[in-house]
Symmetry: D3
């Protein structure tokens, strides 16, 4: 359907970027304005920050292109997050193919009273680069030099395949 | 692990509730304060409202219990939502088993200039009822009288089985 | 003063719309960020949502025109709304004359613990359709087919007459 | 219905307060986050600030009591307010009777580019003092020494009578 | 570096403005959404309002020019501010030189239960007027007629000298 | 004046923490809801995030104690921050003495289109640890092992002396 993809990059002489060039971390203290009626952080607050950081990582990789969230894989909230906790989101690119990017976000909550940090959830967000007419646009490749980066790339590719099949099912 | 589940309901003489007793709809006009830097609604805003309405439907069914979002199934953002659009979320219960409830949320965007409404996404949110000590607590059953409600109940049950297997995989 | 009114509609072949084509409902769970210092929902939060839904209903009727709130009739807050309650606003058009529309908004609060819903207030909001130069612009008529719709139309017309006299007094 | 009203004041030796002891002014620059989709300030933002300042004036008069907004008289939005304008709300007590207070709020918009200030609307807000059990509680009297204050007191008293009749009609 | 400064004013026949023509006061009730996890107002909320009112005063003096905050002098938070307090910011111009303006902001907290007002802090904010290309632009002079205004002008001038030396140190 | 200071720590067997045990970084994309009327990020938004991260770092060091911002040293906004930029705040402890902590926050803006990062400002925030009665409480020492950490400690100590003299002047 998409016949031609344009190529964009922050620096057009670049032939690609490594995952550590776009990875991001954000640490936000949870305030009463983030609370549900029972006084805990509600899931929607976490999801809002998750979407923002995934877009940030993708934008750091893709440069001039516009960035939209295409999908979020099934996400489980493993632990409650409390008001006064620090919410820590660490996000990095696993996989890039033409205009599609898989961002993995690790979400942790830190109890600042006792200095203890627990995993709250992990999310895989698929982000797409678009041009000014909302057409998909090719971004520079993801360079995987380390074994860890290569492993993540292959797993990301495999999840992307599964997703594409899933979308097929959804629209049938 | 959970040995005994307590039973709660708004009216303890009730033996259950139908899906249409808890279903909810919310229609919210998208404002500039909901925009990403390019002026469209960012995914995080939609996810925040999604989480709130799923919790609302579950709470309408479960009465006194506390409600927490346990997971959100993979969700695809099919269409962009623009500032000035109405965001319409319609949520209903498909399936209830002990303390777990599956809420289905249909998300639409309406272009108010031309009166056209498009499907933006569909989400399955798993919500759990907890008591004051954060222990799962049994809620009243979901009564499925119509063919449509029965079909949704069985599909929800099937998705819940898949999710439980997935969690198994995730923690291994 | 207004010599000519332009006619707009979502579908220019339409000769009017019924109230049920524009009516809207929104259901919002009240969060700690909506609270006054005593922990109840403050009136300003309710008024903000009231204004938003009245504008939404008018925009659904008027299509391309810009919509501004011209006035809100006297409104009484009959009952307090608490954090954790669902705030339910149901809005519909009663009356339309050239560029002016009367929207009636019924505001209810639902205690989700016990499933009880109480009327918090009723408001009549006058909304005006404007063109891009902020000049009033004629909208398509409101079609009242049912006895209920006709009764509301006549009552709305009567309130609009009273309002116009009131404005006269105010500017003298 | 209310058999006995308790008497509260910031300083129990005081026999009353003058309107200028509680009057308040707030000046707020309107930001893009206050905008409707067309980029103007939406009415709901103004109504939120109106409710907050009316409560503030009443609280300054009533001291320890809890303050709730009981009603807002019909209010007309005379002029649009634009992003970048200063919104100026000046609020004062006109009338006090037992637990009820009438606050008058004058709303102006100032175009900061040209230094021009226009009246946007005037509102009469009825605020009630409550004790910790949500029972009406008598507040100290309003002392009207000047001719202007006396005139406002009598007009406020007259509006309060009209309101009480109106409520009667509304509940019948 | 800046060779020529353009001259702007709301009314070009004006040769200057007195401090009382631009001074501003804002009174805002502190809500639970302004709280830190311990339930007090966090400093960032106060700083946000401080920056807004300083910009407002400068804009009232400078008319058409764009206004940016250049620096905030060391500021001490003398007393905690609690939810339910009124935060009162009173801001005025002390000194104006070409494109630079010194705004002094007095921050007080009022306990509305007992009617007691305490000084929370004082801040000196340096604001700069810019044209549409972000170049500094000369504003009309500040007219100091009273002894108080003249004293403040000289003190402001002296602080501005100290600041310019400090910036020199900072950039070396 | 403070006769005895209690000692708190996340882990009472600890004799101190290094700066890298409490340092924090946050990366936040600037949205239209953070804009001033001209569409740039207003200073107050930056100051709000500055205060939050300084408190977070101090809390990470101090564990159970309550944390309040005591003062912010003079801060210069070196460059404008635009909507769509990433705001990056990196905060670390320089100096700790009894209940007082100096946090240094480096504020940068990153243009995500071209991947360029500029320094926007540097701030020194003094934060104090308090017990539940709002009395200063001693925190564990800051352990400076590296030359860099030692240099920062001495510079922080020197600034703290200057501040204490400044406060003396302010209150005279």
């Amino acid at each position: 359907m998409i016949i031609a993809l344009k190529m964009v990059s922050a620096n057009y002489s670049q032939i690609g970027k490594r995952p550590d060039e776009s990875k991001s971390e954000t640490t936000i203290i949870m305030l009463p304005s983030d609370a549900n009626p029972k006084g805990n952080v509600f899931g929607g607050v976490i999801l809002k920050h998750l979407d923002l950081i995934a877009g940030l990582v993708a934008k750091r990789h893709a440069g001039h292109a516009n960035i939209v969230t295409a999908s979020i894989d099934r996400m489980t909230f493993l632990k409650p997050v409390y008001i006064g906790n620090a919410l820590i989101l660490s996000a990095r690119l696993n996989y890039v193919k033409r205009s599609s990017m898989e961002v993995e976000v690790r979400i942790e909550a830190e109890d600042l009273d006792i200095g203890q940090r627990v995993l709250t959830g992990t999310a895989f967000v698929t982000v797409v680069a678009l041009d000014e007419h909302r057409k998909p646009i090719e971004v520079i490749p993801l360079i995987s030099n380390t074994d860890e980066d290569k492993k993540r790339f292959h797993e990301g590719e495999s999840r992307m395949m599964t997703r594409l099949k899933g979308v097929g099912r959804a629209v049938t």
